[in-house]
Symmetry: C5
Subunit: 337 residues, 5 copies
């Protein structure tokens, strides 16, 4: 689906792809600014716009096209082709939005490719992206918005993309808190494979963040002629936002390694309790059984057996040994777990 | 609350926000220096001063405003808007000041935003900050203080902020010492979740230190025109101070990882003691019980049973086995724990 | 085996090595481009071409020749000898292609040495390389291909080499998934030495990737005069591809360290189950055996022995103790594993 | 205590502080070189010399004064105040020099502050420092020594300071060797808290080394005008020496982490021995006791009980079971520990 | 021992140290190149050559002299004294060459100091070094060899030194393989202190490699005027070789950390086997002993005791319980270890 938004002589209109050619002439005359958004385009549409109309470099077009179902999306990058910048970003989206611990971190990465020229912005993406749609709506409402040029327009999209990271990144805070809580209070409900999953997701998120940050850093430091000095402030702002989130994600790694240690410790402590129980039981009953088995011996001459109070004496022994053992263990702190 | 301090013709006065406009004219004439402090300002006050009077860049104003209750404060940064520097710092404060191990590390981070111009300093913060108040008082007393310019004035505030880190950072020394002491001498009183909390706090503190240090480094190396060469010595001094504290915090991480190892070791040693006890008890009583159960058998022809000294013989056996076992275990060092 | 492909006056031909000398004259006249491919060459062939015809630097020739059976291949590098670039790459190949976990990661590294001049490309390799063969075939079909020069030609080979990494790198994904699956579901089938092998392979792969990436980075940033500015785009593209794979390999290390933790945890859990069973059995039967041994004592005066319901009483005791123990253990969660 | 050494017209003399003012005049006339050493000075002395006579920057003076009892000394640093360099160093000294493992590593850090000018050197330290005293003595003996200027003079002091690190750094080698020896041969004598102490000391030593090295690096690379090109060779030599020691300290960290692993391994092995003993004892005696308890049953019809050789048969069973168990365990290597 | 080799007018001769002075005159006239090799020199020889004849800087001479028995050799470094380069290298040599695992890694580091001038090379070493001797022999045979200058000559020595690292570095491969093999197949023969020794040796080797590499890097990048542009290719080649070995050594660290994990795992598995055995034995015999002790009770009224098949019934019980337990444990996979 091709969606063309054009700004000229103070007016922002949406035109059809077929009118684009006609519009071209106008553009040169009037300094019009055009934004071509390709959402899940057909191969013909791609050919027409990217190869035909704009004649972008084949390598950049190839990178756009990677974003096909069943393929890995391209990682964030930026390339300067003099006439235009080619940028790839990875918006995030929740795959499912249930509330359970197991599925809450199921986020997907998508690919947004963009060509930023002097008077045009071309965006290309397989999936419908909220960030793009929202900016599109704003353009329709605020007619002057596009007058700040494609670099400003693209900053708006990037800003929205980064904003949408926030709930996903902050979700980890809750997830890690819940895992910590479960480890200390409801150990049996923690599955180690869940922790492993969280770890994988944090690693993935961090890697996306770092790459994106790199791209934004280059956009914000005034390295490219196509980004006017004035706009770099805006990119720096987005960059700043991303840096904060990247640090958050980084800190999650520390927290997670702490949780793993907690997990192992709680596990070891539970083991200790089990072993202590075994030891307490054995320490008490092995001597008792020994004593009783003594008086089960069949020797002819065992004076105790014939005592009137022999049996009472045996019980006194049992109690004496048991109490001694308990006191000894109590002192060593084995009975108060 | 807006608080305006103005220095002109050798006199430092406090004026109301409404007089500021009038003062402006004066300023240009007399080279007056003005410090506007916004403490927990209303939205109107922010609008009037930041947007209206000084007309700061919208992005910087937005960063100021992040400091709202229930929101994360902005991390330290510095930005050069040519006409002024925009700086964010994170003062620290104890949330509660009880003496117990569990609560002692409850410190909060706040946000102080500042705009440093040639003739003005604007500070913006949500919470009442001791560092700001103390400098305000000094300005009232030492009339010449403000004559050194906004860069010197701001250095005074930053210096106070960093000074106030000291007790919080040094507190960790005591906390870690106490944890170490407890691990070795009163193991049961150590909760692993406490160690985890200390770790989180150290990570947090370190991250603040590192960011702050970065900002001070840039202030001290003479990168900005608005900081006169002379003042960089003072900023370098504060930077120096912060570096020492950051190193202290860094060393805490090493100490903490040592404590974790100590914790695991003590835990393992306690487990060993339990297992050794079990083994000692079993090693002594299993053979004894076996012997006594032999003489509990009901075979018709068991010569020992009819011996006069059969029972005595059995006791001799018991004692012999027990003593042998004890000697054997003594030699292996199992009995002296 | 020497294989010479020559492009001149719009035609691409394959000539014999002996015609090369004659071709030389032509080359100077007509701006011909020549590609000499030495596949598993004899020492005479090496001498003739590398030392004789092209007179390359002895050190570069020595590095080529390292690629002998039973020797370690040379690691990737690039050297600028003004007249030509000397590049070494390490293509990968599966040693065996069985499907079992144990052998699937048996990949080998080979050595491809190349000299890139203004008008010539010399490639040298011990083993038949698919990447080289494929480009050779393409040159025969697309006559214009060689007209873009040796730098473009070499990029084609490198591109194919890097493409062939993909299945090997991605195989690890499956292998790690299977190991994780086995750890959690079929623990006994995991051999620790297998995990160690995977680790070694990942380390090896990563080291190759990093070195290769470094070479490609230098090729792509326009550092060398012999790589025309235009071609750097193509090298950057390959570089980009390699970076993505290097990151994948890097992430495998994280995954593997997680798997090791999972392995240890599952191991510890299995140990816990064993110990819990021991403790449960002992906790139940040690007291029971003590009770029954009491009534096995031979005291003359033991009233219970003469009760009508003595035996029933004993069983009641047995059941009472057993049930109490079970309830106690149930509450502590020891029975639901 | 102020100690002034002055070199002029080829003669090195010691003068009193009060003569310094007079000497000043001379200095300008004769190109005299003066070294003022403040050892544990009173506040008045500091004021007179640092603030009055030389008028150093207040911030540098403040850094000098930190060196008070009960305060942390300042860490190494260097600052260029154009007219003079301000340098802080941390000499080391053993607190006590007993031979026991526990106290041997009790070294202290002191603070030496120095101002290096064109014609003067001012050193300031709280404690009597051997390095300073030795150089003072040499100056008295070798009259020409001071003629090489304050930069050479200061190098002599620094050289002595670094030399004095050697025995402290090398002591760790012995300590670590002894700990390793104890872990493998006399495990019970190793206290984990000792290892923790060694770790803390190594971390501390390393941090001092690194900071000092940084200062020396800057002194040796010809960054400062006040250090003549010729003297940088000497500073490079000291720097070199320090680098070697810093590497030694770094390697101790590796050794220590190996010792920790050894400690845990030895601990685990001892645990294994205990568990194996328990298992061996149980494996032998549980079946034996079961057999003997069988023949302790009171069934009316138990043929074995009436056999002539019943008791002998029982003993045969006992021996058979015991021997079988022993052979089985022997084969598994459990009996040779 | 002083050994002087001189090349002039196309002839390479060996002269005595005393002729050196005479040779000097010649040298200036004829562009002669001289190589003075000091092997284990006396103090007088050192004084004569280093201080007297060449008048090297005292600091460089001091660094040479460190190489005394019982002292640590100097680490690799390079210093530019304008007139000459001062280089220190650390050749390696096996202390003993036995084949056992314990002694195979006993390599020593030596010190080779060299002064590289325009027309002279001075080498200084305590021990007889194969690398030096081999080059000396080659100089005698290939008369033209020295004509390439001292920089080329020194490269030959360094090349030989690095070549001699190869067998020592590759030995670790075998050692690590053997340790891995032993861990998995002959666990009891692995001593943890051996692994610790290997670790120490790898750390030491790596540190030497890294320092040497640094020196070679500086020699190869054309930083020094005394190394002609042409020779840098040769140094780069040696550098390259060293880099490959340093990477090998680096990879050994990874392998070793894997081996440690393997060691701990095998240890834990052996512990598990022991515990499982204990649990299996207890699980079978504790219930059986309980049953038999029931029928050892002396109650008057125990119907089973009077059954004709009472004893048979008991055995049925024993077998029933034992078989049930075995099946249960079989299912949990405890019996197939």
């Amino acid at each position: 689906m091709i969606n063309v938004t054009i700004f000229s002589r103070g007016i922002t209109e949406t035109i059809s792809a077929s009118e684009l050619a006609k519009a071209r002439a106008r553009m040169h005359l009037e300094d019009a600014i055009v934004w071509v958004d390709l959402e899940n385009p057909t191969e013909e549409e791609e050919k027409e716009i990217l190869e035909g109309y704009f004649a972008f470099h084949p390598l950049a077009i190839e990178d756009c096209k990677i974003d096909r179902p069943g393929r890995r999306e391209h990682h964030p990058k930026i390339e300067d082709y003099d006439e235009y910048l080619f940028v790839v970003f990875n918006p995030l989206k929740w795959k499912v939005s249930t509330e359970s611990l197991d599925t809450v971190m199921q986020f997907s990465t998508y690919q947004l490719s963009a060509f930023i020229g002097h008077k045009f912005l071309v965006t290309h993406h397989k999936h419908s992206l909220d960030a793009v749609n929202e900016v599109k709506v704003r353009c329709g409402v605020q007619h002057k918005l596009m007058s700040s040029g494609p670099d400003y327009l693209f900053h708006l999209i990037v800003d929205r993309i980064v904003d949408k990271y926030v709930p996903i990144v902050e979700q980890f805070d809750d997830v890690l808190d819940e895992v910590e809580d479960r480890i200390f209070n409801n150990y049996n409900s923690v599955k180690f494979s869940d922790i492993l999953d969280i770890k994988k997701n944090i690693v993935r998120l961090r890697s996306i963040m770092v790459q994106q940050r790199e791209v934004l850093y280059r956009l914000s430091r005034g390295e490219f002629n196509l980004i006017s000095q004035n706009e770099t402030f805006y990119y720096r702002n987005v960059y700043d936002h991303l840096v904060r989130m990247a640090e958050l994600v980084e800190s999650y790694r520390d927290v997670l390694s702490g949780l793993l240690e907690a997990y192992f410790t709680v596990n070891a402590n539970r083991m200790n309790v089990v072993m202590k129980t075994l030891t307490v039981i054995s320490t008490v009953f092995l001597p008792l059984t020994f004593i009783s088995s003594i008086y089960g011996m069949n020797f002819e001459f065992m004076p105790e057996l014939h005592w009137k109070l022999g049996y009472t004496f045996a019980w006194a022994l049992f109690l004496g040994v048991a109490v001694t053992m308990f006191i000894w263990m109590k002192r060593r702190g084995w009975l108060n777990e």
